[in-house]
Subunit: 350 residues, 2 copies
DNA sequence: AGCGGCTGAGAGACCGATCTCACACTTCAT
DNA sequence: ATGAAGTGTGAGATCGGTCTCTCAGCCGCT
């Protein structure tokens, strides 16, 4: 494919050697003058600085990295950079890293385990200082375990991996879902549908578990025909919603496990002529722009998105600096934001 | 701040030297066996491969990069990774790059020229193979000119820079805006408001120019009180909209230059009790999820978002492979998607 | 037999920055 | 005066992989 062709002629960059020659000192002295370590005479230092300035010396990060065994780069592997949640987190990580003079390399796994493995191999080969990963699967995690074993600083976000000995920053998915379903039950709903992602993503599973626990506690059965499986895209969610609501005895409420699915559900309900909340009460996991845009606005389980990136970065930088306290697992609470998409249902009808 | 602490102990990686020793061949032969170049005997090749496999040899990209003078990395500097437009482009670039075994380093300029300069310096020091940049300013572009001069492959997206000798991929901002305003004028509108970004971003300027040209062609004056300046955020756009529409003789139509501003305008109009399109006709630049979500849906000037990333990547890879044809400037046409947010206004009223 | 051409493989240079080490020179205390 | 401690500098090793150069066999051809 687009493989290496003849190397493009890039003007050769200025090296310490050039600086040293211009300043008429040795490479070692020039390096000392530029990095301010060891003993350097005033005169030599001045000449070195001046020559570097004049020639436009910038240093070669690659050579430095080779010498030091590490690149000033942190890798971030989100499930999907187009998901606003990850875009926000990426932005926050980037901003937090900038202060410590690291660059951020973002490589989306597209929720594919295989792709994730390849990307991590890549990042490992680049000798990045550390990685922040949203693991695509709860299944095979030997590639992550290996990183931990080899001492590569690693922080998991959004999705935790039971038994993985590394820091993680997540939210209380189970509790958030439980609270949402609780609200629906308290409003008299008995036939509460769920659209979730069958993939092995931990968050989806936990949100489903919260749903199931809430039902169980209310003595309600978990019925297969109330649960639809969908990929996390608007289109698939539309199909899933239509499947759920075109049966007789249709659900009176719907819980969706992420914002793309909530969007799909809204579109599908509208196309079926079902009004929220008159015909269907709706709660979505994850707050998003659209939620305040509909009429009425959508009740959601909100995550503290703005805290995840900064905290994960802070933890990672501590690890990079050599901290070896035991793995920390931070789990943020979620917040149920009641807007207008949940209506009381009278018991006779339910 | 979080500066280098004691280097964390990372298990030393396997090197060619280790492989060579294990396979009982020289480093050079081992390297040949692993990379399949030059003359290698079958036996030596087999032993090399086997030893590499057994030891888990992965190669050191940094050392390779140092030798070859280039990192297999492409830099991407969007104005803001949280903007869905750039998130989409980033995703597409990433996907396109993966096929040519490059990684993507994303560093958002946050629309700050100073930050952009710093980031480019950084990327340059990392010896990335090339860069894709959405320049934050039309003003001082010496840092970009220098890259071009030094032969670093560079592709500009979204915003072009007149006189810059490098490839660019943009859309017809002026034409798109002109067409939109034309539609409003054809529907009888005479007081057409504009909310735009005063920054030195080229796109914003061009969209404003399209607006002005359309007015001029219809013999309508460009009135200051019809033009509001706002930063590109939902909050600022809300303020700007309220300013525009709380005057007597309020505008009958509004044109917003990006999707965040369109969102803000919608929110503001709703809060002021003005219905779209009954009281105000609205057209936004850049299509977005919300636009099909409102009732009625919003008419927009759509850009071919999905084509920008792949094309920019293709151009960049060609440059990386040494193409030195003259700079190519691709400008995609925009497409006016008529939905329901433009109403006819009767001439007596306008 | 002798020579050119090919295959196979090792030694060592090299990329650029950093760091250790050795050496020279100064200053100060004994 | 002499050694010790402190200061300034350069030579060279090092990081890991790649690549050139050299050399040794081996083939076939004249």
């Amino acid at each position: 494919m687009a493989e290496d062709g003849p190397p493009r002629a890039v003007k050769r960059a200025v090296t310490v050697k050039d600086v040293a020659a211009a300043a008429q000192v040795s490479r070692a002295t020039a390096a000392r003058a530029l990095n301010g370590y060891g003993y350097v005479g005033d005169e030599a230092a001045r000449r070195g600085q001046e020559a570097a300035e004049r020639l436009g010396y910038r240093g070669n990060r690659i050579a430095q990295a080779l010498r030091q065994g590490q690149m000033p780069i942190v890798g971030f592997v989100p499930g999907d950079i187009q998901n606003p949640f990850f875009a926000r987190v990426a932005h926050d990580i980037d901003a937090a890293l900038r202060r410590s003079r690291h660059s951020l390399l973002i490589a989306s796994s597209d929720e594919s385990l295989v792709q994730e493995q390849g990307l991590l191999d890549n990042l490992r080969a680049l000798n990045v200082r550390g990685m922040i990963v949203a693991p695509a699967s709860e299944g095979d995690n030997r590639h992550l375990a290996r990183l931990v074993r080899e001492g590569v600083p690693l922080v998991l976000i959004d999705r935790e991996l039971p038994g993985m000995e590394c820091d993680s920053v997540t939210v209380d998915n189970e509790g958030g879902a439980h609270e949402a379903i609780g609200l629906l039950i308290a409003n008299g709903h008995r036939r509460i549908a769920l659209i979730h992602d069958a993939s092995r993503i931990a968050t989806a599973r936990q949100r489903r578990e919260g749903y199931l626990r809430a039902l169980a506690e209310a003595g309600l059965p978990a019925e297969d025909r109330l649960i639809a499986v969908s990929q996390s895209t608007v289109e698939h969610a539309i199909d899933a919603t239509i499947r759920l609501f075109s049966r007789p005895e249709r659900p009176t409420a719907l819980f969706t496990v992420d914002s793309l699915m909530t969007t799909g559900a809204l579109l599908a309900l509208r196309s079926m002529g079902l009004a929220v909340p008159r015909d269907v009460s709706l709660i979505g996991f994850d707050d998003f722009d659209l939620a305040t845009f509909t009429d009425p606005q959508i009740t959601v389980v909100a995550q503290p998105v703005g805290q995840i990136g900064p905290l994960a970065t802070k933890m990672l930088l501590e690890r990079i600096q050599g901290s070896d306290e035991p793995a920390r697992h931070v789990r943020f609470p979620t917040r149920l934001i009641a807007r207008g998409s949940v209506a009381r249902v009278d018991f006779g009808r339910a």
